[in-house]
């Protein structure tokens, strides 16, 4: 039994002025998280990755599908059950600054945990517990206690939040873009801390838009696009040998230090701009965005760092035209269709998630239309 099982989780949001439009944010997402495993959930903004994190944290209810934690469906756990659930499942969010109420001192996040979960613990015992938790995230209690959030660095803020989770009997940590707002010099410390926690047996869902970060720490990778899993499996296989065009295009766009964007597209098949502007009235997802970029069938993953710097300002033009972002951003339901779907289930059945197939052991890829 996995720690957490996601079974065909879907979410449809109501948007528009009068809540008249329905947007599927997630469609039939299924994967498991095991003990001592880091899964990175990679997707662009709007891919639904944060929504999935919130569903797992029981902050947002799924429209359909089930989330099971240690075998129990979390949709029916009730108030007492929820309190117990949060003892084991915790989250850390993207913006460290927004995670702290600016009016209070930063260590209030510990006090909140104490008042609910450890009301009986004596002051000194609690102090010792807090200090132990801080120790395990390599924070010096004197540096961070009794301070306002703005007096801490972003890295300290995020580590403090992880320490907060460790006060509880946490088994699953949802880390939603927790390092994207941090400076490069402190990012790595937080990343390394996550690996440390994983080695202690925690399951970690690492949500990010940055493939290199996901690649750095995760065992499994799930690529999410417009609410659908397009590729997933063991990280070295998914990112080392990407099968889906979307994954490839994402990889090609990652800015690298020693390789220029243009060079990555060497020998790639290029579809001229404007040639594939796939219509989408039938509900199939257009996959023309990739055509605007160079396709790189084999991405130079694992080539390691070093190597020569690219020639100065000699940028090879990649495609026949400008990469058009509109295709990337517009999901079919975002273009104005003739008639909006009325019920969430109708929306979901109108845009079904493509089935996943195992292309090699431990590597699944969605069929492309």
């Amino acid at each position: 039994m996995s720690l957490l099982e996601l079974d065909k989780v879907s979410k449809v949001y109501k948007t528009g002025t009068f809540g008249g439009e329905l947007k599927p944010a997630l469609r039939e997402v299924s994967f498991n998280i095991d003990k001592g495993e880091v899964i990175s959930l990679i997707g662009q903004s709007g891919s639904g990755k944060s929504t999935l994190g919130k569903i797992i944290l029981h902050l947002v209810p799924p429209t359909s599908g089930t989330v099971r934690f240690e075998g129990t469906d979390i949709s029916a756990i009730g108030k007492a059950g929820l309190r117990d659930y949060y003892r084991r499942v915790q989250g850390v969010f993207q913006d460290p600054f927004s995670s702290y109420n600016p009016l209070y001192k930063a260590d209030r996040v510990f006090d909140m945990v104490k008042s609910v979960y450890f009301p009986g613990v004596r002051g000194t015992d609690w102090q010792a517990k807090v200090e132990a938790a801080l120790e395990s995230v390599t924070l010096n209690p004197g540096d961070v206690l009794n301070k306002f959030p703005h007096q801490l660095s972003g890295g300290q803020q995020q580590r403090l939040l992880i320490a907060r989770a460790l006060l509880l009997d946490v088994r699953l940590l949802v880390a939603d873009e927790i390092i994207s707002m941090l400076d490069a010099s402190t990012r790595v410390d937080v990343l390394n801390l996550l690996v440390d926690l994983k080695r202690r047996g925690l399951g970690i869902l690492f949500i990010t838009h940055d493939l290199s970060l996901g690649n750095y720490i995760s065992d499994q990778t799930v690529i999410l696009r417009q609410g659908v899993v397009v590729e997933m499996g063991e990280t070295p296989k998914v990112l080392g040998n990407p099968q889906h065009t979307y994954t490839k295009s994402l990889l090609a766009a990652v800015p690298q230090l020693h390789k220029k964007w243009g060079e990555l597209g060497a020998g790639a098949t290029v579809i001229p701009a404007g040639e594939v502007r796939a219509g989408s009235s039938n509900g199939k997802i257009a996959h023309d965005e990739v055509g605007r970029y160079s396709k790189s069938p084999l991405h130079p993953l694992r080539q390691g760092r070093g190597g020569s710097g690219g020639p100065l300002s000699s940028v090879t033009k990649t495609a026949g035209g400008r990469p058009s972002l509109m295709e990337l951003e517009d999901a079919p339901w975002q273009r104005r269709g003739p008639k909006a779907k009325k019920s969430p289930s109708a929306v979901l059945s109108a845009y079904p998630a493509p089935p996943l197939q195992e292309c090699e052991a431990g590597h699944f890829v969605a069929t492309e239309s």
């Binding site: 969010f93 600054f97 927004s98 109420n101 600016p102």
Partner: protein, 356 residues
Amino acid sequence: MTASPGEIGPAAGVEEASSLGSSSTEEVGAGSEPVLGPVGSIAGGGVEARATVAAGAPVVGAPSGLGVGPRQFTGGRRWEFLYFALRNKKLLLGMSVELVFVVLAIIGPAIAPYNPSKFVARPNLGPSGAHLMGTTYFGQDVFSQLLYGLRDSYLVGFLGGLFAAIVGMAIGFSAGYRGGVLDEVLQVFTNIIVMIPSLVLLIVISAYLKTRGILFEGVFIGVTTWPWVARAVRAQTFTLRERDFVDLAKLSGRRATSIIVKDIAPNMASYLFLVLILLFGSSILLAANFDFLGLGPTNTVSLGTMMNQAMLWSALQLHVWWWFIPPGAVITIIVAALLVANVGLDEVFNPRLRAT
């Protein structure tokens, strides 16, 4: 959802649009200095915190001391507010005027030379040493009436404002925090209340009530004005509940009421304060209107009833100006001072408006 615009979320579109409106309008649109930017707003939540990027609150407690990280300011805020509050002329002016009148209202009955409703001298006497503001058609002392009336006007303003604040905040917080069906139901309810013509309602109620007191008037004003508070609070709560610290409080097992009281409300305290001041002022004004039309309290004297009496007994035609000018002027001054203080407070709370 702060840094990933377009992340699908509940009401994402609406919210983004509204926060855009909040700050960029003046910057680019107004065209006084239209560089493209610098604009401190950002799509999504956290409008207030981000706004400081452009406007820049002077740093009080920033450790690295640099304005580039806007997020470093918030902690020392309370002191910062005090600092600017004590240096804001508008606020100080408005508040000192208000203070003078409040003191007068409190000690008024004690220092009033005469009983306001008793016949104490000849009617329609002009201002003199014995009667600072003269006497009415009934030989009552206008100055004494003013002192008593001041107290009642403040009382009505306070009662009305308090009632509106309590009801409005209760409904605004629940609608904004819970959202969904509850929000929709409360919205409909709020809109119905807004649409009730309060004057007509008051006239109808007056027809049935023998005596109307201060309490009745205050509550009536509260009942008809709370929707404005509710709307403002709901909108703010909507933004604040998207902040991560609210989610974190939920993850800590906190209950909704505790989150609203301890996490959400304090973060909009400045905003609430402004709303309350405006509410207070408008209640006083509204009460004066009702009183002037003869719908006010029947058993006491207020600034509005003084003017009502003056009008009824043709003070204008008889040139008894000392009967209606003082109460009118006092109401005007009270409300004007409140508005000036409000503008001052706005500058204190909102760094964008501060003159640096």
